[in-house]
Symmetry: C2
Subunit: 314 residues, 2 copies
């Protein structure tokens, strides 16, 4: 283990501390705290956990946070109606619909995200916010990639003139991540399942971002010695045989699995810690950043509504 | 000279021939041909030339094409008012504001492009169209990169699983080009002025797209033998000494320069023809494609307005 660990929780605490003055200012100006409205459809355990974390972080930071629950049997129209209520709400500046929607209406996910008012779209999923990101003038940018850039910058990891490789081309992480790094003058390569010689391509990176969704996929052969490796993976593993294969039979984490029924593994193999110069652990790396940026985006949305100059971030 | 030349005019003719039936169908349905409205501010000679080519191509193809001229002294409000008139026009399906605007109002270029109705935005510059491109569901996509993809596909040049390198990160060419290639399963790297080892990076490409705006910048050392090289550069050179340095003292093109006062050189050095497997010449390569896609986008916009299923292209 030689890599410096980039602890997202520490960076998240810095970000949240810096939001305090602005939160007070906008609260005074608006006559109320910034408000976050979350819509949760169904009872997916993972989603329940995420939503609880978001609500807790918001209220700890002095934001108003409301949860609207809909049953797993809710119609698409019912979800759209809930979005519409929050769009019209005077006290909600940011809106978040927890992904994924239940299987019966998952085909309507895009329509639901599109229905969120761009000014309240704190996930940065609305096409107009995505387009503004491409054009380098976005205010509301997808939380995870936005948080990763904040972490790199705050931890003094140079981006300009460096090579960045992003594995994964999702709308939520891969593509916005590539754009944010490009705008900060990295030379950016986007890899995916159809990339030939994936390991060799990744090994050219000064900054490697793994957002694939496959546990321990990135091995040490993928990593240039000294590179910064950002692990976006959150892979829940409950199979003890798979876990022992990935972690090795002596890993203390196997006991945690036996006790809790599952553990979370990143996309990056633990052996990478011996090669990378800096590494975000899973858990504890990227996850806390995402929530901190969600709060920041809610604040930015409130500032935008009350005409406080917010400045472009894309 | 070993490279196969990819002649844009031939591909453009194919595209335009294929539009004919659809043009007839939408003309019958709408009771009028699709209409293109072009706004030209000032009298920049290059812009005059482009606009004439666009008007000519449109009317040859059976589209209605109208030019609204404004003087170089026009205010930003006057330009926005012209955009507004075309937005409201019943007979114009596509709107194009010729770039660049005169220096006095060039700072308002973004505001002018933003004012164009997304449904009539045949240049694909509006943020909502750019966002839809990122999300792989765009109808109206920037003409030059869209034309390049059509040419590669029609000429049997494989994209999926190949390495593509795009030099240049403009909103109009570089970024949409990278996205279109990514969505077709290329592994895409975007390079720019801050890229270290630019030649070596380019030399990994199976498909190399040069959109830098520097004459003959891409040398044979940038090109993997057999690669496809797409030259987006349109660099007007009037200095005979510079031209002789770039082209060599025996080039027949120097006589053309002496006769006409200037010649157009691409971003790719002529020596690349000995290394590349396929190459778009300048002039005659990418240029004609851009205009063909402009016509296609006007047709798509008309089909969209009259509810003909157009299908996503991003």
């Amino acid at each position: 283990m030689s890599a410096r660990l980039l602890m997202g929780a520490e960076v998240a605490a810095e970000i949240r501390a810096e939001l305090r003055d602005r939160l007070e200012a906008i609260t005074a100006r608006a006559g109320r705290p910034p408000g976050l409205g979350i819509i949760l459809v169904g009872e997916d355990p993972g989603s329940e956990l995420y939503v609880r974390s978001k609500l807790k972080a918001a209220s700890e930071s002095g934001l108003r946070a409301d949860l609207e629950r809909l049953p797993a049997t809710a119609s698409l129209d019912a979800v759209l109606a809930a979005v519409d209520r929050l769009n019209r709400s005077d006290v909600h500046d940011g809106i978040l619909v927890q992904d994924p929607l239940p299987p019966g209406i998952a085909g309507g996910t895009r329509a639901v995200f599109d229905a969120i008012s761009p000014e309240k779209d704190i996930d940065g999923f609305h096409p107009i916010n995505v387009g503004r990101l491409v054009q380098g003038r976005a205010v509301l940018v997808a939380c995870t990639p936005s948080g990763i850039v904040e972490m790199l910058e705050r931890r003094g990891i140079p981006i300009a003139g460096r090579r960045a490789v992003v594995i994964g081309r999702s709308d939520i992480v891969g593509k916005p991540m590539a754009l944010l790094l490009l705008h900060r003058h990295a030379t950016v390569t986007i890899c995916h399942s159809k990339t030939p010689d994936l390991a060799a391509t990744c090994a050219t990176a000064d900054i490697l971002v793994a957002a694939i969704g496959r546990p321990f996929f990135v091995r040490s052969t993928f990593v240039k010695p000294g590179a910064t490796v950002v692990d976006v993976g959150i892979n829940r593993v409950s199979d003890p045989v798979l876990a022992a294969t990935l972690l090795g039979p002596d890993s203390p984490r196997l006991a945690a699995l036996a006790q809790r029924g599952s553990i979370v593994l990143g996309d990056v193999h633990q052996e990478v810690a011996d090669v990378a110069g800096a590494l975000t652990p899973v858990p504890g790396g990227v996850g806390p950043l995402t929530i901190a940026i969600l709060l920041k985006n809610t604040l930015l949305a409130a500032e935008g509504r009350f005409s406080v100059a917010a400045g472009a971030r894309g």
